[in-house]
């Protein structure tokens, strides 16, 4: 008898999705209700998930699904950030006429896909989760149907993502062929001798995953898709799939392929250096905030990957800390974007920030804190994120990676402080609206406060991850 109790989060989410779909079909004008209810569902899911935290790791379904502290933590992070994302984008969604019943339901399905991905211990389960997540996101990217850019971004994302899924699937089949199993534990046992087939398989899987977290050189889709999608979807792209995909990176690399550390380490270092440097350089010329944040997230993923490339528990833990701080900063940044609105029109160009500090001192203050933090200037949270990563990197004497990474932060600092320059040193423009929803304001205030005073007690986030030992 399989103990279904341990997957009640997943069951709860699936049942809610189905029932919300039914309600949406049979009840007219229920968009708002479904949106609000999905937020509550995410919170309930979070509560269930935290309650389920097992004392010892649990394997389910013939060892193809695992629940342990690490997966529970990541699932909670995903659920919390999904809740925050939905809460802060509520007004945007309403005013841009994308509040259809499908919208919250698609978000919930992609969350469900991510949760399955995180817990998967089998190539097939993993792939099912990945596709559930991706398919929902394709539709979301193209959700603003009348907008040509939104349709373009949806199509672009779909084609490129399908290509990467194909590569990934090919990698999975190679691995299955050479290790005669799809189960992570069995792959680990069967692939002790170094075979080229397995290495090819790993590389293909890494390519597919690198595509999901927009690591260079598989990043080309990101700026266009980020820019074209509605902002409420861009914030999802910038945060949620990255958490899930990076967790899968960890699950793969430090699970079945741990013994082949020497083989994949070079690949990860390459992805990491490429992303850090390219993300920093390419963002300099951007004129739109959403494109800029796309390049900035490419660069940030490079840092998170740097933590994974060291092959120690500290490296993994520090990558997760990095990811958590990254998502706080990004949610806060998008909150600021949602506030740049005048008469129901939203603005997302760099020049729209001009002179913001004179009209909206508090908004620009929090934006400044966020930008300095993204640039990694002490004593803000973003500095600590980088500091931990490089502590782990230097422990393994990987000085080249550390120096390249830190020099790229200097380049990146240039475009972040350019935004601050626009806000604080340039001439002011018209005022923006002030009637923002309470949730949006709360999230912005809380997240920028966390960024600002994180240094007072850094142990709060560190304690969460210090128990994660995968090796």
């Amino acid at each position: 008898m399989i103990n279904l109790f341990y997957i009640s989060t997943e069951i709860f989410l699936s049942l809610s999705i189905l029932s919300l779909l039914l309600i949406g079909v049979f009840k007219k004008k229920s968009e708002s209700f479904i949106y609000n209810f999905s937020c509550i569902i995410l919170l309930v899911g979070l509560a269930i998930n935290i309650n389920l935290n097992p004392q010892s790791p649990i394997d389910l379904f013939n060892n193809s699904y695992k629940i342990n502290y690490f997966t529970t933590l990541i699932k909670s992070v995903i659920l919390i950030s999904a809740f925050l994302v939905m809460l802060c984008s509520l007004n945007y969604v309403k005013q841009n006429d994308i509040l259809k019943i499908e919208y919250p339901i698609l978000i919930l399905s992609s969350i469900l896909g991510m949760i399955v991905m995180v817990s998967s211990n089998d190539l097939i389960v993993f792939y099912v989760g990945l596709e559930l997540q991706s398919l929902a996101l394709y539709v979301l990217a193209a959700f603003k149907r009348d907008d040509i850019f939104s349709s373009e971004s949806g199509l672009k994302y779909f084609i490129l993502s399908a290509l990467s899924s194909g590569l990934l699937l090919y990698g999975c089949s190679l691995i299955y062929g050479f290790s005669s199993s799809t189960n992570f534990d069995l792959i680990y046992q069967n692939s002790e001798s170094i075979e080229y087939g397995i290495i090819f398989g790993i590389v293909f899987i890494l390519v597919g995953l690198a595509f999901k977290i927009t690591a260079v050189p598989f990043h080309m889709w990101a700026p266009d898709v980020y820019d074209g999608s509605p902002t409420s979807v861009t914030v999802i792209f910038a945060i949620l799939p990255k958490i899930a995909a990076l967790t899968v990176f960890i699950n793969f690399l430090y699970g079945p392929f741990l013994e082949m550390f020497d083989q994949w380490q070079a690949v990860i270092i390459f992805l990491s250096i490429g992303s850090m440097v390219f993300g920093a350089v390419a963002a300099i010329g951007q004129k739109k905030l959403k494109r800029l944040i796309a390049y900035s997230s490419i660069s940030h993923m490079g840092f998170a990957l740097a933590g994974l490339s060291v092959g120690t528990n500290e490296g993994i833990q520090n990558s997760i800390i990095y990811l958590i701080i990254y998502l706080i900063m990004n949610i806060a940044f998008f909150c600021c974007l949602f506030m740049l609105k005048r008469e129901n029109q939203y603005f997302d160009k760099v020049e729209d920030l001009s002179g913001l500090s004179k009209n909206h001192p508090l908004l620009s203050l929090s934006m400044m804190i966020i930008l300095f933090s993204l640039a990694g200037i002490p004593p803000l949270a973003g500095f600590f994120a980088k500091f931990y990563i490089f502590t782990a990197v230097i422990e393994q004497s990987m000085y080249f990676l550390a120096i390249v990474g830190l020099l790229s932060t200097v380049i990146a600092a240039f475009y972040y402080i350019r935004l601050i320059k626009v806000m604080y040193f340039d001439e002011q423009k018209e005022k923006y609206d002030l009637n923002h929803s309470l949730g949006l304001k709360m999230i912005l205030v809380i997240s920028s406060t966390i960024i600002l005073i994180y240094f007072v007690n850094p142990n709060i986030i560190n304690n969460f991850v210090s128990d994660i030992t995968l090796i």
Partner: protein, 496 residues
């Protein structure tokens, strides 16, 4: 139970800044009084600290240590005879900066004072942190307020200057961050006291030294990475220039003593010729450049580079006189350059021109100002009886012990210094009153007179009677140098 006096010294300005944040920005007098009050209280605390400080001990005193990041870094602060003087310099200059904003800052006064108070927190933190990571946080954290001070309240080319300042400093510092983390993995701790005891393996020292050097050289600033300084000085508002010249530059000099020399004695000895050469270039070259400036602030900025060249020269002689001279020169330059920038600010507020050619004959309309400016000019060129003399004299004395040639060339810098300062004074103060605008100039008002007189008095007083300073640091320097020589001898013995 010991009262955490150093932490309160660090925290008090931040609390003041937080308080200011909640005051209505239209209440200008309230804002000024609150910030002035906070900074004066801080000054009094630091003076009290100086009184209860035990000058006969070379140990770190008032040490506070607390777990900060579990199993990794402790929050540790404390002072010795060297750092306390820099703390007093900081707390002394800040109230004067706040007093001076009356006439120079027109808009966003509240934000400006918040930035100044945050800077005070960070600068005091730099001078008393006894952990490398804590030091780095304070050292780098200063970038944010200073960037805003230059960028928001600066002159015409403020954006360019602010960016240059920010990126130059950041580029230097990231290498230091790598070195700090490396030290943690090499020695197992970032606690400075522990590291002094343990020592760092000599085979790593050269690289680590270079990484620290890259950061301090930008901040000092040393030739050839000094180019951000003239820009930053010229564009920053008066109070910003004063902060930069008086305190920010000293953070690097202090870093050289505490970290470069203290932690890496073998490497420091190895790089002495290198430091001597670039210090000499800084002294001679920037003095020549200063001669050719037509902008008053730029001239003073280049003179700062030359003076800091003397400081690095003195510190790296590793003689009692040289190191003491370097420290004294830093304190003296802190007071003198602050005074000079305040003086420039006084005339700039009236005419909005920094060009030397727009002035001339000021003595006719501003006699009080001219007298005080004379004192500062003489202090800057190192006339006996001013603080500038003691610093330069001790440095040259220490340098003579090491190398006659270096000292001889450096002495040329003293002559050049006299040349550009006196020439500046002549062109600004003496001569015909040609510019009609200057006829309407009013002499110093009460606040300006107070600031400048206080600075002039301290230049002359400590010029004649330097004992309060030298007594404070001499034991620490003596002990510092003997430890340095011990470590060096040990290393040489091992290699024989």
């Amino acid at each position: 139970m010991n009262f955490p006096i150093i932490s309160s010294l660090i925290l008090l300005p931040s609390i003041g800044a937080l308080f200011l944040f909640f005051i209505n920005s239209k209440n200008i007098t309230g804002i000024k009084y609150v910030s002035l009050f906070v900074s004066i209280i801080n000054f009094l605390i630091s003076i009290y600290l100086w009184f209860i400080f035990d000058q006969s001990s070379s140990e770190f005193q008032f040490v506070e240590s607390r777990v900060w990041i579990k199993d990794f870094i402790n929050y540790k602060v404390g002072i010795d005879g060297i750092s306390i003087l820099f703390i007093i310099l900081t707390t002394f200059i800040i109230p004067l900066c706040i007093l001076s904003v009356n006439s120079s800052i027109k808009n966003r006064l509240k934000e400006f004072l918040i930035a100044i108070l945050l800077m005070e927190t960070l600068m005091i933190g730099v001078f008393c942190s006894l952990d490398l990571v804590i030091f780095y946080l304070f050292f780098e954290g200063g970038l944010i307020p200073m960037f805003l001070i230059i960028g928001i309240w600066g002159g015409e080319r403020r954006v360019y200057s602010a960016f240059k300042f920010f990126l130059f400093t950041l580029l230097g510092s990231v290498l230091m961050l790598i070195a700090v983390i490396s030290i943690y993995w090499i020695a197992g701790t970032t606690d400075v006291e522990e590291l002094y005891k343990l020592g760092i393996d000599p085979k790593y020292q050269n690289l680590l030294w270079l990484a620290f050097f890259s950061s301090f050289a930008v901040k000092t600033p040393m030739w050839p990475v000094h180019t951000w300084l003239p820009d930053a000085h010229v564009e920053a508002p008066t109070a910003g220039s004063v902060l930069l010249a008086a305190i920010l530059l000293k953070m690097a000099g202090y870093g050289f003593i505490r970290f470069s020399i203290g932690l890496f004695p073998v490497a420091s000895e190895y790089f002495v010729p290198f430091i001597f050469v670039i210090s000499l270039i800084a002294i001679i070259y920037t003095s020549l450049v200063a001669l050719m400036q037509d902008d008053i602030k730029k001239l003073i900025a280049y003179s700062s580079v030359a003076h800091m060249g003397f400081v690095t020269l003195g510190l790296f002689t590793f003689t009692q006189q040289g190191v003491e001279g370097g420290i004294f020169q830093m304190i003296s330059h802190g007071i003198v350059s602050a005074a000079l920038f305040f003086s420039v600010g006084v005339v700039y507020d009236r005419t909005h021109s920094r060009l030397i050619n727009d002035y001339g004959g000021l003595v006719n309309v501003m006699p009080k100002y001219s007298i005080l400016l004379m004192v500062f000019t003489l202090g800057s060129l190192g006339l006996p009886g001013t603080t500038g003399f003691i610093g330069e004299f001790l440095i040259l004395m220490g340098t003579f012990k090491k190398s006659f040639l270096v000292a001889a060339i450096a002495s040329l810098g003293v002559i050049l210094g006299a040349a550009y300062m006196l020439w500046l004074y002549k062109r600004v103060v003496f001569g015909e009153l040609t510019n009609q605008k200057l006829l309407k100039m009013i002499d110093l008002n009460k606040v300006e007179l107070f600031i400048l007189t206080l600075l002039a008095l301290s230049i002359i007083f400590f010029g004649f009677y330097p004992d309060p300073f030298s007594n404070t640091y001499s034991v620490s320097v003596e002990n510092f140098l003997s430890e340095y020589n011990d470590k060096l001898n040990n290393y040489n013995l091992q290699n024989q």
